[in-house]
Structures are given as structure tokens and as C-alpha cells.
Symmetry: C2
Subunit: 439 residues, 2 copies
């Protein structure tokens, strides 16, 4: 039957083609006539074939010029062989079998109601395991009621920005170098971004009190993106104090907080004051961006408005992913996966540092032993030159410029190199290409 | 190990509790010491336990007051026993096994890139099978490039409204009774909704040319929601002509177009002019709302702006659902499921008509032999009275009032009764409750 569908789809069986009588085809194929009758009738029902008045069957004319074509858009193929882009986890390590098992267990056992419209807050089972995970792994003061399930940190920030605008916020401070999605998210909501310098201790917060009408500050405290520094502890305390004093909010984007290699991860800022910090988390780095799964942890007073903002267009994460993730965390598979990846990424980071110190001793590596990327600088070579040299090696790395906000006065030059993106088998080739680029 | 986690989570093992030495516990449990050491060390890594300086292990103090609590929000329990709400398919008939098989096949075989960030356009495999399906089942002129995958018709309408606003549209005509999500979607985008009366031939389009600055019209042509009539063929042609003449758009919400019981489904309006009609489709009625899976089919010139509008916040449907749906359609399972449901819903609709004509002969049933609902009217009983009587039977039905737009001048009274929502085992009880309500 699928051979028939394929023949029609590919145009080998043209619309209007009269098919052999079921008796004739059955004889040709050596199958029972009833089989052919059943197949014809299914294909008629599906619209591939049309039963003619009188007798006979033909390929539907309705399909003309429509189903025969393949998509014109070519699949976007990367123009590089080696992928050291920051922000990408190792997709080849996705725990396929465990995920499929989690889907099977949960879809088989789900109550009927799970298949209905999805609560924009997120399923309570998932909110509960996420709260538990964040409490023990990231030090959050997180209750299931304060968790809102979303499709990733970008949606999370969109929701927070929309709610801030509704309470009259017009300005939010961001880091002078930051994730390239943050500034557009604020602008689109109608919020003016104000830049904070970033130094070796993270975002410089000394000017916060001098910015009039500042409603919130958006930070990556555990691992500044892209510069890779941690927000120093006095500054952590200071920004929370500022938010309390001014009745404002800190938005914490904890995009890769699980990955720290030289010590236990620093707990999330949210743990210092769950009433003044909105936390954005995601499974994009810890599992895979393709799942489109993330979470917000918000103060009690904001839960209702965040859920209302989200719920309105019913753009919730499907129940299958939510249930599978619940099972995945609850069974311990999520913790195991993160531990395994932490070991793998730590090893890669060490190999990268070693290769650079051996072969490219003039290269300066910055960023702490954490996350999925480092920043590299070479005296006498601009970042544009480094990216061009990488391109000749068919290697993808990204210039700091990509994450520099308009108005940023830092003269810092460098390239951001992710060590997580390659598959296990692609890693050593990518590292060699990087060494050739830097030599 | 999960017993430990549960004991900590439930508070039976309080934070700070010192655990027995691994050797002692191993003896007590009659397992090897290495097993206990491994379990302790995994739980330390996960953050449940803390290894003490010197020796010994205790329950983490970090978990205090956080992971011990269950969610405060009670699970929303319906206050009815019998569910005849419109718009809900039979969730108990969801093809769980086939869906799990589709997930397994596709996750196991997916290329690495599938686990990465999701193209806001939607995966090309899925766009292709959706285009093929819509062409043969709904008569669309649909190419994979024109399909945009989204999380349902509500998101689809939000995207279309946002794009219309960008090209200067300020007014869109809607039906005087309509899906209760449509009007807020337009208002939120900054579009003024203008009402069209609905009669036995669908939306009355005679005034279209007299509405100044009308940029589009939003219709449910195959099966008006909630009144259940089809847009008459002259009107179908007229509205497409109007859109061509005025350079405007028709937005077609085809929420349950697959379900027609007395004849083949009328093809979608989009088939008349794929350049002037934007089509909204969804798996919410044909499979389950919980999947959060839908599709738009848009004219060439709008594809770019719809994808840009969608892509910005990365709120795409996860790749697992997209691949599973691709497999589900491609294997013929989707067609089979829809055929099976069509048979079941047809039978239910007949049983409903028969029960009403036998037991409640004064009740008037309207709406054609299609979709998942009928409209019932009773002379001498207001719709509010009917809903109250239903509540006494613990039966959920919805008054027409719920779908009446402000400014609607129709004096039509009635209740909207869905016959798809109950499970197979709940159907006859629900029907009995309806008969008692109407008697």
C-alpha cells in the first residue's frame, strides 16, 4: 500500500491513471483479491484514488500538481565541517533509548485528561520534579507553584518582558555582551535596554542606582555569556539588595549552570531571594534544544500574570514532552545524563587547553572552568581575522562581536569557541582545525 | 535508590539526618557494600545527600523546606460527571500504541541535526506530509513550502494577525458567533473585529464591500462554529472574489473539516485560491489537543513574514512531536485514525438524534451532519435554563452565549452539545443525562 502512495506522490502513477481491476492485479501479484480490494478501498478513503462511477479505480485528479513535488527549500546545510559554535550541546549524546522509554511509559499510562488542552502553567507533575531538581542541583528556593513550563529561555524572557511592560517597566539593564536573543526580546516588548559593563567579576552593578526608572536587571550570574566569568559574591548580594530596596526584579538566565568542572556549581542567585529573582532555565544545553523545553521560576505575585500571558494563545509544550521529561527527571536519568555530559565536557575542555598551550602558546584563553565554551584572544590577530582563518579550515567559531550590544564601549576582541557541539567522533578533528586556525 | 529519594522528598528523612555507614547499611539490607557506596555517591552527586568532611553522609540541608512539599494547587477537577462540551474529541480513543511506535521509530533513527534548534518554519518532512494530506483529504492547493508548523490554530491566528498588523491592516471581519479565542486574538494584535451575521447559508457576506478599510475576513467555511452550517457555494466564490478584487485575505479556520458524515467533506476554501486564502488546521480535534500541533498554509508572499514572526522567540513545536507526526501521517495511521473516529462520531450523532426525537420531540436540533457538535433549542426554555438543568444532571454543555460576540444582534437561543468528548464507556451515560435535561 505504501508502494502505491509513494508511486502517486512521486508522479510515477500520474493523476487520472486507470488502475487494473482488483482481480487482475491480485493475479499479477499472487495475492488474494480481497487484499487488493481492501488496499484500493483504503486508498480511496485517503483520497489517493477515486472510485469511478460504474466500476474501476483511478489515481485522484485532486492531487494534480500538488503532492508530486518535493519541497523547494533546500535543507539548510552548514558550510563547515567542524562545529565549535558556542551554545550547542553534543547532540550525538542525546539519550535516545531512555527518552523513548520515558515516552512509552508515560503515554501508555497517562490519564485521559492528559490528552486534552494543556494547562499553560505546565503539568503539575513536571513542575514538581523541576522544582525538586532545581532545589537540589541549583540551590533554588523553588516550589512547584512557582514553576511555569515553557518552550525555552527565549519564550521565558518574552513572557517576563510582557508582564514587566504591563506593570509600567520601561527600562531593563542588560550585560554589554550577552546572548543575542536578549536585546531583541526586550525591544520587541517595548522595553529600552541599558548596558552594564562586564569585567572579571561579572556585570558591573555600581551604576544601577544612577539609572532612572530602571525596572529590572537581566544577568547570567553563574556563567556570564559569552565572557565566561561568574558574578562575584559581593555583587550577587548587592544586586539582590538593590532589587529589594527599589522594589524591582533581577532576571537570572541560568542557561548552563549545571556545568562546572573545578568545583560544585555555584547555586543560583534565585536562592538568595526568591521574591526578587525570576529564574530562567532550559533543557537546551543539558539535553537538546530540539525538545523546546524550559522553565521559569517566578515570585508568587507574578505567577498569575505570567500564566495569563502564556495561556492566552495556547502555545504550551505538548503533554508528551512534559510527561516524558517528568519521568526522565524522576527516574534519575536526567541527573545521570548531566553527570555523564559533565565528565565528557570537562575532558574536552582540558584537551582544548592542553592543545592550545602546547601548539599556540600566544593564545589567551579566558572563561572559568564551566559551561560549554571558552573565549580565545590572540595578540596581533583581530577576531575577524580569526573567524576568516577558521573558515578556511571549514571550522565554525563565533566572534565576540556577535554578542556585543550597540553602545558597548569595551574594546575586547576575541572568538567564542564551544567545545560541546561536535559528536564524540568529530571532536578531535575539530580540535585539530582549531589549532591550525590559531597557529 | 528511589526509596531514598522518596524518603527525603516526603520528609521522612529530615535534612541533616546522618546516614548509617555504608558497611552497616549493607549488612542490614543484605547487599554488597559496593552497592551502597555507589547509591550514596550517586545521591551525593544529585544533591540529595552531602558527604561530610572526615567521613559519613547526611541528608542535604539545602533541601530544607523546598522539596518536601507537594504542589499547593489542587489539580483542576471538573465539577461534572458527563462531558458534552463542544470542541473536545474522544481522548480515550487516542492511538497510544501507534503514537509510541512512531516516537520510537523516529527518535531512534533521527539524524543528529534533528536534536538541535528547531526551524520555526517546521521540519520539512512534516511540512511535506501535511501538504500531501491536506491536498488529498481537504482539497488544498498546498506545497510544503507554504506550510508552517505551529502549536495549534490559536497560535496560527496570532501569527497571521501580527503579520496583518505589520502591513497596515486595522479591521478584520469575523462571524457574529465564533470560537471564543478568535476575537481576543485580533484585539490583542490591535485589530478591530467587525461582525458578520450568520444565517442558514453561513456568514452573510453581502456587506463586505461597504465596510471601509477591511483587511481580511475570518471564517469557518466548512462547518461554522458553533452554528454548524456550511458556507453556501455562491458565497464561497464571492468571498474569494472579494479578496482578489480588494487585494485582501480570507482566513479559513478548518478546525474539524475532516468530519463529515452524510457525504465526502467539502474541500477547503483554500483550494479555490491559494493566493488569497490563509488556512488554519490543527490536530486538536483529529487526534488530541494535548499534542499542541497545528499548521498554517499561507500564500507564497506571506511565508517569510509568518516564519519571521514565529521564529523570533523560538517557540517551535519540539522535534519529537514533529517527527512522530510525520511518521504517523506517512504510515497511514493518521488516515486510519480519522476514519475510525469518523465512524464512531457518526454513530454517536445518529444515536443522539434518535434519542432526542424519541424522548424530547419538541427539541430542535440544528447543524449539519458534520463535526463534533450540534446546536439544540427548546421552545419555552432559555439557554441559561438548559445549562442549569444540565448542571443538576452533572452534565457539561455550553450556551450559545459563550460564543456570541459583543454587538451580535441575533436573538438565537440554544446550547452547543459536543458528542465526541465522552469516552466510549461514558457516552451512553452522557446521552441519558442529556435526555433528562431536555425532558
Amino acid at each position: 500500500m505504501s508502494a502505491f502512495r509513494e508511486a502517486i506522490r512521486s508522479g510515477r502513477l500520474a493523476p487520472g491513471t486507470r488502475l487494473p481491476a482488483s482481480r487482475v492485479l491480485a493475479g499479477d501479484l499472487g495475492v488474494g483479491r480481497s487484499t487488493v480490494v481492501r488496499v484500493y478501498s483504503e486508498l480511496v478513503n485517503e483520497g489517493w484514488l477515486t472510485a469511478l462511477h460504474g466500476s474501476g479505480t483511478e489515481v485522484s485528479r485532486r492531487s494534480v500538481g500538488v503532492v508530486g513535488k518535493r519541497a523547494r527549500t533546500p535543507v539548510a546545510r552548514p558550510r563547515f565541517v567542524h562545529d565549535l559554535r558556542p551554545g550547542w550541546p553534543d547532540l550525538s549524546s542525546f539519550p535516545r533509548e531512555e527518552w523513548v522509554r520515558a515516552v512509552k511509559r508515560t503515554v501508555t499510562n497517562a490519564p485521559f485528561e492528559a490528552f486534552g488542552y494543556v494547562d499553560p502553567h505546565g503539568r503539575s507533575e513536571l513542575r514538581e520534579v523541576v522544582a525538586g531538581y532545581l532545589a537540589r542541583a541549583r540551590g533554588l528556593h523553588a516550589h512547584a507553584d512557582n514553576v511555569v513550563i515553557c518552550s525555552g529561555a527565549a519564550e521565558g524572557l518574552r513572557l517576563v518582558a510582557a508582564v514587566l511592560v504591563k506593570v509600567g517597566v520601561t527600562k531593563v539593564a542588560i550585560e554589554e555582551f550577552c546572548l543575542h536573543t536578549q536585546r531583541p526580546a526586550l525591544l520587541k516588548a517595548g522595553i529600552e535596554p541599558v548596558l552594564l559593563p562586564v569585567d572579571g567579576d561579572g556585570a558591573d552593578l555600581s551604576a544601577l542606582d544612577e539609572i532612572p526608572d530602571l525596572g529590572a536587571v537581566l544577568l547570567t550570574p553563574s556563567h556570564q555569556f559569552p565572557l565566561g566569568v561568574a558574578l562575584q559574591s559581593d555583587r550577587r548580594a548587592a544586586v539582590v539588595d538593590w532589587a529589594r530596596r527599589r522594589g524591582t526584579l533581577v532576571i537570572e538566565d541560568d542557561y548552563d549552570g549545571e556545568f562546572r568542572y573545578d568545583r560544585s556549581p555555584v547555586g543560583a542567585l534565585q536562592g538568595l531571594d526568591h521574591d526578587r529573582v525570576v529564574y530562567l532555565g532550559t533543557a537546551s544545553k543539558s539535553l537538546a534544544p530540539g525538545l523546546r523545553l524550559g522553565w521559569l521560576v517566578v515570585p508568587d505575585r507574578l505567577v498569575g500574570s505570567i500564566v495569563a500571558e502564556k495561556g492566552w494563545a495556547e502555545e504550551s509544550v505538548g503533554f508528551v514532552s512534559q510527561l516524558a521529561m517528568t519521568d526522565f527527571v524522576d527516574s534519575g536519568a536526567y541527573d545521570r545524563h548531566i553527570r555523564a555530559m559533565r565528565t565528557q565536557y570537562r575532558r574536552r575542555r582540558e584537551q582544548l587547553l592542553e592543545a592550545i598551550s602546547r601548539h599556540c602558546p600566544t593564545t589567551r584563553v579566558t572563561g572559568m572552568a564551566a559551561g560549554l565554551h571558552v573565549v580565545l584572544e590572540q595578540p596581533g590577530r583581530s577576531e575577524a581575522e580569526l573567524v576568516q582563518r577558521a573558515a578556511r579550515e571549514q571550522l565554525a567559531i563565533e566572534p565576540l562581536e556577535l554578542f556585543r550590544n550597540p553602545g558597548c564601549t569595551s574594546e575586547r576582541q576575541g572568538v567564542v569557541v564551544g567545545f560541546a557541539a561536535p559528536s564524540a567522533s568529530g571532536w578531535s578533528g575539530a580540535l585539530d582545525a582549531l589549532v591550525r586556525t590559531l597557529r
